[in-house]
C-alpha cells in the first residue's frame, strides 16, 4: 500500500509524483491534473489564490485516498493540492493512480477528485483581469457523499 497525500506551496512536479507512486507491477499509471483556466462565469481570470486549513487538509486528503483505495482495491495513489498564488495554466491538483489494470485506476482517480471538491478544506479566490477578485462559491462539506453535495456546483 502506498498512499501519498500532500498540500504543497511549490509548483507540482508530475513526474516526481508518478515516480513516487508507480512501480514495476503496474500496467496502468493514470494522471489527472487540475489546472487554472483563463475564464469563469464569463469573466477573464488572471490567476487564482488557493488557501487551505493545511493541517486538516492533509489529514482529509489522506482519508480520501484511504476511502478510494478501499472502494476500488487500488492501493497506490498519490494526490497533491497546491496552495498560494497560481497563474493560468498552473497545476493546482495532481492525482496519480497506479494499478495493474486501468478500470480500477479510472474509478479511483474519479473518486479522489470528486471527494477533494466535496470536502477538502481548501478555498479559491479568483483574480480577474479587471483587477477585481472574489472567493469562489463552494460546497458545504457536510453534504459530502450525498446527492445534494455532489450536484452543487464546481467543475474541474
Amino acid at each position: 500500500m502506498s498512499l501519498y497525500a500532500r498540500v504543497v506551496h511549490h509548483p507540482i512536479r508530475v513526474q516526481a509524483l508518478v515516480d513516487e507512486v508507480g512501480g514495476p507491477e503496474d500496467g496502468a499509471v493514470l494522471v489527472f491534473l487540475g489546472t487554472v483556466r483563463d475564464h469563469n462565469d464569463g469573466r477573464r481570470v488572471e490567476g487564482v489564490r488557493y488557501e487551505a486549513y493545511e493541517s486538516m487538509a492533509r489529514e482529509v486528503l489522506e482519508e480520501i485516498l484511504v476511502d478510494a483505495s478501499r472502494a476500488t482495491g487500488v492501493d497506490r495513489i498519490g494526490a497533491l493540492h497546491r496552495v498560494g498564488e497560481l497563474s493560468v495554466g498552473d497545476v493546482s491538483v495532481a492525482i496519480v493512480v497506479a494499478s495493474p489494470h486501468r478500470e480500477q485506476a479510472y474509478a479511483a482517480s474519479r473518486r479522489v477528485i470528486e471527494e477533494i471538491k466535496a470536502r477538502l478544506p481548501v478555498w479559491k479566490k479568483e483574480l480577474y483581469v479587471d483587477g477585481r477578485e472574489t472567493w469562489l462559491e463552494g460546497r458545504d462539506p457536510r453534504f459530502a457523499g450525498s446527492p445534494a453535495g455532489r450536484s452543487a456546483g464546481g467543475s474541474e
Binding site: G34, I116, L120, P121, W123, K124
Partner: protein, 81 residues
C-alpha cells in the same frame, strides 16, 4: 475554559481576523460557541448560524461538546480542485 477558534478565506476576510481565543462555560457545545460569537454583534454576525465546523481538524456536528484547548475552525463552503 478557553478554546481556539480559526477563521479561513471569506470568513477571515469578513471578520478581519484569522484566530481568536474564546472563553466558554464548561460543557459548552459548538452551537453555544457560535451563538456566543454571533452575539458579539458586528462583525461576527457575518458567520452563519449553522456553519460547517471542524473540531481538532475533524468535521463535527453542532451538538459536539467542547473541551478546553480545542481547536475549532469555521469552514466556509470548500472550493478545492
Amino acid at each position: 475554559m478557553e478554546v481556539r477558534t480559526l477563521f479561513f478565506a471569506a470568513y477571515r476576510d469578513a471578520l478581519g481576523l484569522s484566530e481568536l481565543a474564546v472563553t466558554l462555560p464548561e460543557g459548552a457545545s459548538v452551537s453555544d460557541l457560535v451563538r456566543s460569537l454571533r452575539g458579539r454583534g458586528t462583525p461576527f454576525e457575518v458567520l452563519p448560524g449553522d456553519p460547517a465546523v471542524a473540531v481538532n481538524r475533524r468535521y463535527s456536528p453542532m451538538d459536539r461538546v467542547l473541551e478546553g484547548g480545542d481547536e475549532v475552525a469555521f469552514i466556509p463552503p470548500v472550493a478545492g480542485g
